[in-house]
Symmetry: none
Subunit: 211 residues, 4 copies
């Protein structure tokens, strides 16, 4: 009786998952195709049947993450309450950072080395940021929030929320979270939300940011 073969789609997904976690940990050069293949549960030769090169897999993996993020992290084009909008954004971002820290780490790694691959795709990033800046400037113009530098405001949110993925090892240590538990998003979301709402001169929304 033949063992059930994994379908092409399953294999592709396994490769993508392997790529995210392995590239996140040791980078492009630090990850061997051997390691990737094993993590995906296939042989090295088989891997090369599905990808055309390690570099390209790396690029595809990054783009996959960026595409995903585009759907997750944005301010509504027609936002209602700034406090709610900001709080929701932060909650989504922190949850994601804690649930899928590898994706965040891989992205950070790429940017840290000068974004040689992502750089070619920054037009989209620019668009997203501009849209959000428009929203923020609208809030400011209508007196709904204190004046902030719209771009830096976004970057700072990004910085803080990403932090709990990128510095997970340190956060875990300083917050006393055991190795076999994920970080508790509740207190993190509460503190981060309060940080940015206060910056805007807004009151924190009572007790809904918790996990």
């Amino acid at each position: 009786m033949k063992q059930t073969r994994k379908s092409r789609a399953e294999i592709r997904q396994a490769i993508l998952d392997a790529a995210i976690s392995e590239f996140a940990r040791e980078g492009l050069e630090g990850t061997s195709t051997q390691t990737l293949a094993k993590a995906a549960g296939i042989t090295k030769a088989q891997l090369h049947y599905y990808i055309s090169s390690k570099e390209e897999l790396y690029e595809d993996t990054l783009l996959h993450i960026v595409e995903l993020w585009k759907g997750l992290f944005f301010f509504s084009a027609d936002p209602g309450d700034p406090a709610r909008e900001i709080a929701d954004y932060i909650a989504r971002k922190v949850h994601h950072a804690i649930e899928f820290p590898d994706a965040s780490r891989l992205f950070a790694r790429e940017v840290a080395r000068g974004a040689p691959v992502l750089r070619q795709h920054w037009a989209g990033l620019q668009d997203n940021v501009n849209l959000a800046s428009g929203v923020i400037e609208g809030w400011i113009a209508q007196g709904q929030i204190q004046p902030v530098h719209p771009v830096m405001f976004q970057m700072n949110i990004w910085a803080v929320t990403q932090h709990y993925a990128e510095y997970e090892a340190q956060a875990r240590f300083l917050l006393g979270t055991p190795d076999d538990e994920k970080l508790d998003p509740g207190p993190i979301i509460a503190e981060v939300t309060e940080l940015f709402l206060r910056r805007c001169g807004l009151q924190p929304i009572p007790d809904e940011a918790s996990s």
Copy 2:
């Protein structure tokens, strides 16, 4: 007349500089000794005369940075005005991130991969954080600042200030800073300081955070 040889100290410094910038960009595995040697202006064999292994150079480089930081980033044990103390800390941190982004990136990279090397030296980190937490708790107890989670407060400052090193490429792009200029620390310090002072319920110190 013979060309003057570089002194031992100069070579050691060149190796350290090369290690910081190369390891920061491509990591331990992604950086070849060939690359390190070339960046330091020496031959590969000569490099091995000065270091005993790439791994050890990596570790030494990290520890060098951590030692340096211990002297730069701390809250005074006997702090006066919280606003001034926090503002000074942020200013120092941002300046450093912008002046020496490679050091920040190298550190971040190491933590992101789980800190296999730095982990052994985290006792010192704990001490530093505890000291600062004590200071912050003192401020809270005396009603000088609003209640904050002392550890997360520190981590968030760290996150935002580091960001301008780690995401330099992106920040440069979004802020429109040309490749041949450093980021302008003034506005960054202003925005970051306001962010954290407001969190504490404090007024920004007028106009001294600028570069």
Copy 3:
């Protein structure tokens, strides 16, 4: 028509042969993987596909020889005539030394440097020697041979028979054997047999020891 590739078994055998002869000549350190590969008729990278390290190949090669010898060199547990038993043993040993001098030389080399690898496998050696000592002591007890030191008796046979492998170059020179001929085992076996039989007070078996 494609040239037939060597089979896995053939390649493994070629590597083993190369290892025996090259390690025998220049030792573990003195033999490069390059040399081994060339001697086996493969490339250096291909060699590493079949072995995991030079050290391990060295160890495997030694153990292979020792295993082979266990089946060749022993006294019968139920020996009949001591003279015949001893003569046969010597004949087998000399034939082997002359046919496969590299194996003998490799073994000698390893022991000469203190047996860092073989030492871990000396329990088996001890057993073999003890068994043979028992046989010899039985002969002595029954008055079949003159008293001898059982262990030294075995070592001396070993010494003399090995000699024609280890010192092949010298023996060849002193006995006038041309480079393209093997040593003639007949006279050697005769002389060595007579040496040890006389030690035991036994008469040489007439004329059967010759090749």
Copy 4:
């Protein structure tokens, strides 16, 4: 106050001693100049001031041993009693093998690899062997000893006596000699002497072979 410098002669002697013991253990390729220098108590650069190359040191060391042996191991040109002559020869040889096993091992190693260096100096060896063969043939002709193959007789003595140097590790193990003691030459000399005297049809000389 200056530390007393070692004289040139002392340094040369230290280098020679180091060469014998290091080359004996790991061979020409397996011994680094670093190791030699450290064993001789000097620096690597200083070593190269005294020797012109590692190969030449190796050759000189071998020749030194051979020269020494010429003065030690020979049959008198005008021998009296064969038993005494043979017994003395064996005793000298065993003592030397046990006292200076490195020299014996180095020599054996060189011969085992085909004597690429010593081969050029084998005229002297031939002379020595021929002289001894003459003596032995004289004994045979005068009916003082049983007929033996003169050259093999010498080789066999050589084989057995060398054995306790070359296989010291194994002999130590099988005879139960602790690592911090030398092998006891007494029983070895007794057994070896009896072996070869019996071969000649001679009686062992009572109890003088012991250390």
